[in-house]
Amino acid sequence: MVKERKRACGRGGGGGGVVPRDLPHDLVAGEVLTRLPAKSLMRFKCVSKLWRSTISHPCFCKAHRARSRLSRRDGCGGLIMVFPETITDDDDNDLLVGVGFFYATLPSSQGPPVIDLLYQFRIGSPRTEEEEEGVSYMKDYQGYTRFINGLFCLYTADRVSICNFSTREIMDLPAPPTRPFQKCLHYLGFDSTTNEYKVLKVCSVKYCKDEEEEEGEKLYFDSKFDVLTLGKDMSWRSLRDAPAIDAWKLSACIDGRLYWWDPAGRELVHFSFNNERFGFTSRPPRTRRHVGAIYQFRGDLALLVGFVDQALALWVFESGLGQTIEDHGETRDVKAYAWCLRHIQVPYPIANRDLKFLANLPTGEVLMTGIEEAAANSNSNSPFPMPIYSYDHTSRKSEKFITGKNYPSSRRKHARKLQVFYYEEDITPLDHLITNK
């Protein structure tokens, strides 16, 4: 026995006349509140004025973020799954009518992932009764960007708002230039060297010179790029000498660079959020044009070719020797990367059925989804419309991550638009985030 009491003392439940003391506010803030999920904190702003100003203070928000990273506690880090609700109009165009946000905890010692339908944005005319039911109407929004640190943008052709998912705060950004182009996409980027968020607007047009021709060489593409640095630019800056990109195919952001196919499918075009320059990467040697869809695979640029010989074929741009990167006249300290063809065993139920990569987990697994055969999961009570599998590249094993319910085949087209983002809470108020404090 180590502790030897020289006198008896009233240990135990009796209290022994000890008056419990209150915690000073700095201990409450620094030790207790930093451990709470964002939802509790937003509610506790109502406790007092001091609590409110503490919870909104950038220093507190930073401490909260640091602690949630450290402990990865439940409710503070997980997956946001964004599932668009679309309808098809008379001209067979998909119209976005709403966005469902699902949240999944990561699987832990305490059990498998838990999914919740968190929130729904409805796009279109607001109707008050339904707003009461937890559905917010975002009038006129046409699209949304990917998530970075819980932030994402909602946009129309002439309006962009930034939303902090952790706090549900939403704020309009300066109006972007409107351009009479067919397709306007916005991308949210983060420059880790300056800790600045940037929004890129890409307006693209494609047209046939000769009306008789359909796809192929007779198709002409043009793109205009505008960029806004949050907290710095009062208005959008137009980027000159931008190359044409194919905005109709998938793009991916890898290490602060956005990648697209060039219109002819010969090479990949990228835009760097750091120096705002464009660059080019040759496609894998001896491959056909548009060899695969652009994805991020375990932090590397990848082209998903498809299902070949019982496995998923994937070109991965890995660090190694060989390929050189042209970076528009700029000499950069770039590691030597080369294209490597990888084959991945994917779970049978989703193999070759619109398989796509979704996100990377901090533990290294890659999440993927596909249309599952109806028979495989017809009894599922999952709130989630799609199955998700995780793939561990080290052990080369796949596992079912989330069970999806049976998704009607008529809506498979929409199912392809599922996006998954790894997410950690950041409760910093938007005006601090975008004024770069």
Partner: protein, 161 residues
């Protein structure tokens, strides 16, 4: 840190705010960064170290925690985790507050973490009015101001009074 102390029988005496003295083995005391710093500097272990902010009941709990963590080898993390949750299991808010204060004062990071986390877990799903009472915070909002703050964060109040 505990495992690196070999066969050290040195003891020191700690004195609580209500005058009770506790004889503690040195390697147990070293769980506290405060005591470690005192021992590293000029304080002699023969002296009685007064802890004027910590009552005997809390100090006994703190030292129980320190002993368990000093004696357990690092390989027994699972055992320590179950000790930690058992240790805090039926503790009321007042006792937890005292533990946080003591762990903060004595700089025992592990104890501070688990006690503060326990408080956070307890209040996480409570309405803000109840949280106000737990922390004895005076409501300095007018009803209109409070309603406005609530409206700004309406989504967080789903299912709350």
């Amino acid at each position: 840190m505990a495992s690196s102390i070999e066969n050290n029988n040195e003891k020191l005496t700690l004195k609580s705010s209500d005058g009770e003295e506790f004889l503690v083995e040195k390697h147990v005391a070293l769980q506290s960064t405060l005591l470690q710093n005192m021992l590293d500097s000029d304080c002699s272990s023969a002296d009685v170290i007064p802890l004027p902010k910590i009552d005997a009941r809390t100090l006994a709990l703190v030292l129980g925690y320190c002993k368990k963590h000093a004696d357990a080898s690092s390989s027994k993390q699972g055992e320590l985790n179950s000790f930690d949750s058992e240790f805090l299991k039926d503790m009321d808010m007042g006792a937890l507050f005292n533990l946080v204060l003591a762990a903060n004062f004595m700089e025992i990071k592990g104890l501070l973490d688990i006690a503060a986390q326990k408080i956070a877990d307890t209040i996480k799903d409570k309405p803000h009015q109840e949280v106000r009472e737990i922390f004895h915070v005076e409501n300095d909002y007018t009803p209109e101001e409070e309603a406005a703050v609530r409206e700004e964060n309406r989504w967080a109040f789903e299912g709350f009074p």
